[in-house]
């Protein structure tokens, strides 16, 4: 029990409400939500506690808690809340808050604004899209309309430069966020920072791999929320499967792109020469398959949201949509690009390339502030929470 009083921030509740915690004040702390939550446990008890923190204006307590990220937004809590306080919405709102707080200073207020104002979000998307558009309009090479010369139209190394610059910035933002989150969620926990840190090194590593495997690769937790759907058909339709396809599709494309960049001969050389690369070529195959997974997953997720078939999708935010829609667009423009290329339609190919690159650019820029952010923070949170439990029990 800490003895020094923490100062309450009376404006915090309003901030969380603006971020989507629509009815957080209605909560009377009965704990029903925590009791029905399939993921809450004795050691990491939520969502009631997070709501109490919010009501009491204890924002640092929120940022210091990895529990925020353990929620899968299944909506069971909101369904059973006797006061209709929508606890699941508060969990999501607090995440938005945490994302904006973990981000580096300038990005922090940027993200806060996109959450709070739809108009701001749209305008920024348009402005962000203008960057690659202007770059392409300014830097493109000769437009050969008789045959498709994609990298004559837009030299490949430009793509690389822009990609690397953007990648470094975004990676920086992400690492900053992860670092800040690690710092906040582990401060005050002995064994994490300062003394005793290294003594548990091996254990940390073990927990880390376990987390990586269980929570990231096969996403066990998400499956836990669909306990009732055990048949394979149901599984294919489940949220878990949708999520897995998006995740692995994304990873696959990331690998394809990185390999394409690292081993230029594999992909870019033949392309520059306008040569045909067989679909069976391993890296290409990986790219095509990953793209398929991604398009499937994103489509399903969007359909789910449109149908509002799940309670969780009844309150969606611009930033929730943005990531899915951009993913789908990236996939669709990518495939269209390939088709245009093979049917040898030069102008269409150049146009589609432009659109595709804009979409990918946008996707990267907004990634740390959209739904994608959880891909960063959740594994770290799970790991920290595991390690915490381990420390507490030993």
């Amino acid at each position: 029990m800490a003895d020094k009083p923490i100062k309450s921030d009376p404006g915090f509740v309003d901030e969380v409400k603006a971020l989507g915690g629509i009815n957080v004040e209605a909560c009377f702390n009965c704990g029903t939500c925590t009791a029905v939550c399939p993921l809450s446990s004795g050691a990491s008890s939520f969502p009631r506690k997070m709501i109490t923190y919010t009501q009491l204006g204890l924002k640092d307590k929120v940022l210091e808690s990895p529990d925020l990220w353990l929620c899968n937004y299944c909506g069971e809590c909101s369904k059973s809340c006797p006061r209709e306080a929508a606890p699941a919405e508060t969990m999501m709102a607090l995440r938005r808050y945490a994302i904006s707080q973990y981000a580096p200073p300038g990005f922090s207020s940027f993200s806060r604004m996109i959450y709070r104002s739809r108009a701001f979000a749209w305008i920024s998307m348009i402005l962000i899209s203008l960057i690659p558009l202007v770059l392409m309009l300014g830097l493109h090479g000769p437009i050969n309309s008789s045959s498709v010369l994609m990298f004559t139209f837009f030299p490949e190394h430009y793509i690389d430069y822009i990609g690397i610059t953007l990648g470094v910035i975004i990676l920086g933002v992400m690492l900053y966020g992860l670092g800040k989150m690690y710092y906040m969620t582990t401060r005050g926990m002995s064994g994490f920072q300062g003394e005793g840190h290294s003594a548990n090194g091996i254990k940390w590593l073990q927990e880390f791999t376990k987390t990586l495997f269980k929570e990231v690769f096969i996403q066990k937790r998400l499956d836990q929320c669909n306990e009732n759907s055990k048949g394979w058909r149901e599984r294919l339709n489940s949220e878990w499967f949708t999520h897995m396809t998006i995740f692995w599709g994304f990873i696959g494309l990331l690998i394809t792109t990185s390999l394409g960049f690292l081993i230029p001969s594999a992909i870019s050389v033949p392309l520059t020469n306008g040569l045909y690369i067989p679909v069976t070529e391993p890296i290409r195959l990986l790219g095509t398959l990953s793209g398929l997974l991604l398009v499937y997953g994103a489509t399903r997720a969007i359909i789910n949201r449109v149908n509002k078939s799940e309670i969780y999708s009844s309150h969606t935010y611009f930033t929730d949509w943005a990531f899915l829609v951009l993913l789908l667009l990236a996939g669709l423009t990518g495939y269209s690009l390939e088709i245009a290329y093979y049917v040898n339609s030069p102008l269409l190919t150049y146009a589609l390339l432009t659109v595709h690159l804009i979409v990918v650019f946008d996707l990267f820029v907004v990634a740390p502030f959209t739904k994608f952010a959880h891909a960063l923070y959740r594994p770290l949170a799970i790991w920290v929470s595991r390690a915490r439990q381990y420390i507490e029990t030993t």
């Binding site: 800490a2 309450s8 509740v13 004040e25 009377f28 702390n29 009491l56 204890l58």
Partner: protein, 591 residues
Amino acid sequence: MKCRQEFKLTEGKKERIGVYVCHCGGNISDYVDVKKVVEEIKKGEPNAIIVKDLMFDCADASQSEMIEDIKAQKLDRVVVAACSPKLHEATFRNMAKRADLNPYMLYHADIREQSSWAHEGDMEGATSKALAHVRAAIAYVKSAEPLEKIKSETTHSVLIIGGGIAGLRAAIDLSRMGVNVMLVERSPALGGHVAELGEIYPYYTSGPEIVKGLVDELKGRDNVAIYTNATVMSYSGYLGKFEVKVKVTHRQPGSEYSEITLHVGSIIVATGFDTYRPPKGEYGYGTVKGVVTLPDLVKALGDGSKELIYEGRRIREMAFIYCVGSRQKPPEDGGHANLYCSRYCCNAATSQALTIHRRFNNVKIYHLYRDMRTYGRNELMYEDAAKGGSIFIRFDEDHPPLVAEDGDRCRVTFWSSLIENQPVDILVDLVVLVTGMEPRQNEELNRTLSLPAGSDGFYKEIHPKLRPVETNITGVLISGTAQAPRDVRETLSSASAAAAKAASFVLKNELELDPFVAFVNPQACEAHQECIKECPYGAIELVEELGKKARVTSAKCKGCGACVAVCPTGAIQLKGYTNMEIKSMIEELAR
């Protein structure tokens, strides 16, 4: 006043007794051998002309059978051995009346609660106990005397002490029923606390408007007399005939005050409550600027201003601290105030919070409570307040919040077990102590009326469920918050209940009272006056004209028997419980 004071013994005469032993379905006969009781009585009691067992003594057919027996066999005494007399004594006394037998020549012996139910599984024991009870009852009726109810004339007027909403409501109800009402209010104005409140729940009606509505309704009535600046000085008499002296203070110079005498049949005490005043330092009261009580806040809100400003301070954040002066530990455990829940305060505080949310933008309200007791419909206010932006935080009795000064604001530190008792500081501009209700300071009146009070200090009714507005001074009733902490709604219903009860007394020309009162045998009385000292109701006096003998005013006597116990010569006894009757029963039981 007609009542019999002489006492005759009916020795030597041959009684004709009927005995009816009840099975009560199986309630009695499962553990009491009813047939055996009947046989034993038949064998041992030659004066028992009729001894029967019946399935249900109280059934209409059984009662008709008894009436026929009484008439045909010329029975002059009856014993009913059945359930508790609390349940059916009146039933059987009425039956006796219908058979032209004096109802007090019937004794109702309890062989269910006392025998079969008390000795389940012990047939033999239960049976012998039941038999003993029936024998004692026979012994009683053998020495019983016919008694008559005491009759007393009544005055068709009621005195109401206290002109708060309870007094006003009772006055209206009585006046409408045609009863003359005299209302005595100590202060210069009517309405009590409610007259000083702003918006009050339910429906956020204004306190002064409620009072105005009640007072307007009284104004036009010619059977109502209202005395303000008036107090009760002394009272005497009994139900139906009280004489009350009232002192009315005048404002005009010259005549300081006048004294009037009122004659009434019943009195309603509606003197209300006091609000708890925290001692200096309790939650910073009187030591930290910005710490006020709920009544202070309600008054401040009454001015209709656009902004919430208290003593020059604009209020942006404020905190209520609940249960101040209520629900405390007993003094031996370190508590200093009242143990009970004051009942109105959770509701009043949430209702004021709602008013603030509605009237002023952006005032953040924290409610530090121990348990929210917004019972019944008031629960909706609790929910509305939360949805309207109030934050409710529970604290533990052992870990109350601390209030301290912080610049020109107040710092409230609290601990909540929901977040592992991590202390939290909130900075607020105003701290409102949600103070409870206390029994009204009323020494003079208490001395005059000597009404009984409960351990909490509020006036006490005879029985909370069976006789909820009566006190053990017959004819003196209590209502409103003089009796217990209550809100307006509950106060008004209890006032109407007291009014109805008072009307039921005074609207009859003659009152009938139970005949079980003390009486004096003048031959034996030696004027020791022990009884006069002992009687808690002042029912006995020494009468010179009778040659210095004690005399009982039957209407005042409650039949408690205190006098009987102290009389050195046995001159004073209780009707229906004479020494002879009691002694014969004891002898029979001890046989």
